[in-house]
Structures are given as structure tokens and as C-alpha cells.
């Protein structure tokens, strides 16, 4: 039983490449400094969104709001998130008034801009959800334009299922994650 001798050149190459890789990581991180600022912004937007949502129910009777008019809890514009059905992008009847309120505000304040984010739940494929999230953002954008907002005030972005606000694989979490967000 003879043993054949073979030289394992691919392995040697693999070893070299492995060495190459350790330096790779460093290089990439230098070459591609990740936009911390972008992350900050997004986080702030999410926070303001949540604040708006939380205060909607309890403080309707408040008067003499002295903060930013968009944050006035007695106004529909303080609600910054609307929700969608699975694989759908139509604005549901219960959210129309909110979108219209934002549209009217934007029409009255032409220098005010807003980013409309489209999001999805974790079901379905990731790139399809990017497309679906964009469709949701665009549905909101269309209604804002009808109210007199101008294209220059509106930016849309889809995060698909990449930025869930609720963790968990159940209908409650999914319903929260299927959303469009007004990020002023």
C-alpha cells in the first residue's frame, strides 16, 4: 500500500491568503469609516418618533403647547408612525388623517423638510422588503403631495426589514415593524 506524495499548493496559498486577510480587516475599516453621524441622526429620529407616539393618548387635552408645533401632543402631526398590512402599501383609513395632517403642515411650512422611512416586518425576503418599504414610503409621499407638500420637502428611504423597532417573531412585533416613519 503505497502512499502517493502530493504537494498541497492550494493549502500554502490559503495560508498566504489568510495572512492577507488579517491585514484586510484593518485596511477596510480605515478605508470605509462608517458614518457615525448617520447613525446618530437615525437614532434621534427614532427617539423623537417614539416620543410622539407615547404622548398622543394621554395628553390630548393639553393646551398652550410651547414646544415645536410638530411636537404638540394635541395635533395629529405628533404621531410620526403609521402601520401597514402584510405585503401591502396602501395607507389604511385609520392613518389617512395623520398623513393628511403632516401634508398640511408641510404645505404651510415650505422650508420644513422630512424624511419618510419605509419599513417591513421580518417575513419575506430582504431585498423584496427593501422594495416593499420603498413602496410604503412612496404611498405616504403621494398623499403628502396631494396635500400641497412639494417634492423638494420630501425624501424617501426604505430600510426594508433591516431596522425593526420590535423584536420577536409574532404578529404584535410584525405589526409594529410594518411602518412608515416621518423623520423631521
Amino acid at each position: 500500500m503505497k502512499l502517493k506524495m502530493i504537494k498541497f499548493i492550494p493549502l500554502m496559498l490559503a495560508a498566504l491568503l489568510f495572512v492577507g486577510c488579517s491585514t484586510t480587516e484593518k485596511k477596510v475599516e480605515e478605508a470605509a469609516p462608517v458614518s457615525e453621524a448617520a447613525g446618530e441622526t437615525h437614532k434621534d429620529m427614532e427617539r423623537s418618533t417614539r416620543g410622539g407616539e407615547a404622548s398622543t393618548s394621554g395628553a390630548k387635552a393639553s393646551s398652550g403647547w410651547t414646544g415645536h408645533p410638530l411636537d404638540d401632543p394635541s395635533k395629529l402631526t405628533s404621531t410620526r408612525v403609521i402601520h401597514f398590512d402584510f405585503d401591502r402599501s396602501e395607507i389604511k383609513p385609520e392613518y389617512k388623517a395623520i398623513v393628511i395632517a403632516h401634508g398640511e403642515y408641510l404645505a404651510q411650512h415650505p422650508s420644513q423638510t422630512v424624511v419618510i422611512e419605509g419599513h417591513c416586518d421580518e417575513r419575506g425576503t430582504r431585498e423584496y422588503n427593501i422594495a416593499l418599504g420603498e413602496r410604503r414610503a412612496n404611498a405616504v409621499k403621494s398623499l403628502l403631495l396631494v396635500q400641497g407638500a412639494t417634492p423638494g420637502q420630501l425624501t424617501t428611504i426604505s430600510y426594508g426589514e433591516e431596522q425593526p423597532v420590535a423584536m420577536g417573531s409574532n404578529e404584535t412585533a410584525w405589526a409594529q415593524n410594518r411602518r412608515a416613519v416621518f423623520a423631521y
Binding site: L11, V28, E122, E127, R135
Partner: protein, 436 residues
């Protein structure tokens, strides 16, 4: 003898291969269907010839796990063995005939005197009592796992006639929650069994859709690092990268043409998502689909003649096909109300995709000759299927108790495994082609 009740479809045999190295991740293999038709093989624990410390990797267990997870082999647990030869001279073929083995692997590891090892192994046909292969392979401590995968490849090819894909790699995305509440997203490359992960991109914003170039040297991916999506192409081993698409709206779903010269991608710059073909040398862009519906997730046929993609032009996401030069869109999936993210097998005969079964999302394989759909996975949120370069297995992402992990299944659906890689979410696996 290997007699398995064919009625017992769910033979759950969970083998936990505990690595001898603390930092290595465990690999779980579940035999989910009967093993009828799998070749019985015994991989005898390798001998250690030399004093002092045994190497940290158990070569025979790695080979055993590789062969088992391919679905093509039924390996013998070492506790059932009645002899432990390390060389051909020590083999009594009657021992293995009695145990119903058709093939036998024996081997040994010894120090090479300069800090590395020499791994010797022999593969035998038990019934003929013949050696089918025998090699002596010099290696290093660091490359011992890679050597074991090469041994698996040699055995697999000898016994099945098909090239092995054990010594290949996968790319995938990880997401790890940080104490700040923010998540760290990374693009990693690891061995096909999940070991030796290396990070090649990190971001606090989403990274998506890694796609290997046909030569295995580059990865295209989507990064939101500037607050909006762009497509980058990065050289895997140098880290050099360039941004190739950063249009208004979606820049997503990059897919390399088989010749590596073009990228099919999804852009919504004209108002809604359509598939475009980007010529990488000329930097020219050609629209492929023009439809008001969603068109995304393109993939090329191995001969480069067709593109398949996901479209909801019929009301729900389904897979369509079109000549890559443009032409008529033809729907190719009809079973199920949600079929998406399809890609071809290396021989072009099958496509794998995400398919909805009831309320669950699973991995399906569609035979393009018969249009028969076979569902390979049994999860609730399975996604991102990717064929091994020899077409023998599909790697995909699963959710287990809210945690995203990777899994692999043999293309006949018979053997599934979970690759428990590390902490955090692991998703969007892309199996690398054979390196050239």
C-alpha cells in the same frame, strides 16, 4: 447493518461535535430523513505519532462531519467500531464487512519537526479490500482544519465522482447588539462549516446582500453606511473596494454575471424598482425590466443567457425569467403565494428560492425540467438560500427563538444541519464559488 424503517421519516439524530479548541463553535448535524441510499463509511479516529501535545483539531471528526452533512454518506460512530487501525497494514477488512461498511478511512497525524504536521490517510473499498486513495499531506497547526476539508473533498470525489465542496467558504452578515443599544453589523467570511470567521466590513448601518464574484476574489454588497444604500465591490483578500452604484432610491440585490464582467442589480432611480445590468468595465447601465411592479433579486443562469428575478407584477411575489439581453418576461413559479430570491444551481437545472408554505417561509428547490417544487427546510422564517459550488447542498438562514442562524441542507433534503457560529444574528449566507 444499516436497516432504517422507511416509514420513519423523522429520524432525529443529533450529533454534537465538540471541538477540542475552546474558541471554535459547535456544529450540529440533524439527520432529518431516512438515510437509505447513503453510502456507509467508517472514518477511524486518526492516530497520533509523536510525543507531547496532540494537535488541537481532530482531523477524523472533521472529515466524518463533512461526509455526513453532505447527505451522501452514513458515517459510523467511533463507539460502534471494533478496531482502530491507523494504517492499511493494520486493517482487517472482515471487521468492516461485518459492520456493513462499504468504505473505510484510516490515517495518522505526526509532527513534521518544524512545528507543523504531516497527515497521512488511506481510503479503502471494504468489499474489494483495495486502496482507492492514499495521501501524505504536509500542513500547519493553523491549516489543519483546511487539510481535513481537503481530505473530505478527496474522499467525496473518489466515491461519488462529484467534486467536493468542503474546502470552500461562505460570506454572511452578522448583527450584534452593542451596549450603546446600537447594533454592529458586519460582513464576514468563514469556512463552509462556519469555522474561522473573519470580518471584512463593519458598520452601524445595514449591510446586505453579499454576492461572490465568479472567481471568488470579490464580494459585491449593499451598505447603508452613508445613510442610504449603495453597492460596493470589495476585494476579499486586500480589502480594496469601490462604490459601483449610488443612485437615488434603491441600490440593491447585486448579482454577478458568470463571466464576472457585469452586475445585475436593482435600482429605483426612475421611480420604482427595476433590474438593470451594469457593465463593470465600461460603467454603462442597461435597463432589463421596465414595469411598474416590484422587480428585484436578479440571478444569472450559469450560461449567462437568462436572468431570473422576483416580481409582484402578478399581484404577489413570484419568480420570472427573461433573456439577459432583454426580452419577454416569463413566470416560472406557480405553486405557493410567495416565491422570492431565486438562484440557479451550478448546473443550471434547479433553482432554489424562498417559498411560502402556509404561514411559513421555507427553502424550496424547483426542477426547471419538470417544474416540480421540493421544500427542503421546515422552519418558519427560512431565507437566503445559496447553492454549494458543486450543487450538493444549500446554505440558508433560519430563525430559532428570535435568533438568526445559518443552516445547510443536502439538495435531496435528507440531511440538515445548523451552523451555530457565534453570538448575535447571522444571516444572508452566500456560498463562495471554487477559488480559481
Amino acid at each position: 447493518m444499516m436497516i432504517i424503517n422507511p416509514m420513519k421519516r423523522l429520524l432525529m439524530l443529533v450529533v454534537l461535535l465538540v471541538s477540542q479548541i475552546a474558541h471554535s463553535a459547535p456544529l450540529m448535524i440533524e439527520i432529518t430523513e431516512s438515510e437509505m441510499g447513503a453510502l456507509p463509511i467508517a472514518v477511524v479516529p486518526f492516530g497520533w505519532q509523536g510525543g507531547g501535545q496532540r494537535p488541537g483539531e481532530d482531523v477524523a471528526s472533521i472529515v466524518d462531519a463533512d461526509l455526513k452533512r453532505s447527505g451522501r454518506f452514513k458515517t459510523m460512530p467511533s463507539k460502534d467500531m471494533i478496531a482502530f487501525p491507523h494504517t492499511g497494514a493494520g486493517v482487517d477488512f472482515r471487521d468492516w464487512k461485518v459492520l456493513g461498511m462499504e468504505s473505510l478511512v484510516v490515517g495518522q497525524v505526526k509532527p513534521n519537526g518544524v512545528g507543523g504536521y504531516i497527515v497521512r490517510f488511506q481510503l479503502f473499498d471494504v468489499f474489494k479490500g483495495e486502496q482507492l486513495a492514499g495521501y501524505s499531506i504536509p500542513t500547519t497547526a493553523r491549516d489543519l482544519r483546511a487539510t481535513a476539508h481537503h481530505i473530505s473533498d478527496l474522499i467525496y470525489e473518489k466515491l461519488t465522482g462529484q467534486r467536493g465542496a468542503f474546502a470552500t467558504r461562505v460570506a454572511y452578515i452578522t448583527a450584534i447588539a452593542q451596549p450603546t443599544g446600537r447594533r454592529k453589523i458586519a460582513l464576514q467570511v468563514a469556512d463552509a462549516d462556519g469555522y474561522h470567521p473573519q470580518t471584512i466590513v463593519t458598520s452601524t448601518e445595514p449591510l446586505m446582500s453579499p454576492a461572490w464574484s465568479p472567481d471568488g476574489l470579490k464580494l459585491a454588497y449593499v451598505s447603508f453606511e452613508k445613510g442610504r444604500p449603495s453597492i460596493f465591490i470589495q476585494e476579499v483578500y486586500t480589502g480594496k473596494r469601490q462604490r459601483v452604484a449610488s443612485f437615488k432610491g434603491i441600490n440593491g440585490a447585486p448579482a454577478w454575471s458568470p463571466d464576472g464582467r457585469k452586475l445585475a442589480l436593482t435600482l429605483s432611480k426612475d421611480g420604482n424598482p427595476d433590474i438593470f445590468i451594469l457593465d463593470l468595465a465600461r460603467r454603462t447601465l442597461r435597463p432589463l425590466t421596465r414595469h411598474y411592479a416590484i422587480d428585484t433579486e436578479p440571478a444569472w443562469s450559469p450560461d449567462g443567457r437568462h436572468i431570473i428575478w422576483t416580481s409582484d407584477r402578478g399581484g404577489r411575489p413570484q419568480i420570472y425569467r427573461m433573456p439577459s439581453g432583454g426580452g419577454k418576461a416569463e413566470r416560472i413559479t406557480f405553486e405557493g403565494k410567495y416565491n422570492a430570491r431565486a438562484s440557479y444551481s451550478p448546473d443550471g437545472k434547479l433553482i432554489t428560492m424562498v417559498t411560502q408554505v402556509g404561514s411559513d417561509f421555507r427553502i424550496g428547490v424547483l426542477d426547471l425540467a419538470s417544474f416540480q417544487l421540493q421544500v427542503l427546510s421546515d422552519g418558519t422564517l427560512d431565507e437566503s438560500p445559496s447553492f454549494a459550488p458543486n450543487g450538493s447542498m444549500v446554505i440558508y438562514a433560519i430563525k430559532v427563538k428570535g435568533q438568526a442562524e445559518l443552516a445547510a441542507v443536502s439538495v435531496d433534503g435528507r440531511v440538515r444541519q445548523r451552523l451555530a457560529l457565534q453570538v448575535g444574528d447571522v444571516r444572508e449566507p452566500a456560498w463562495a464559488p471554487y477559488s480559481q
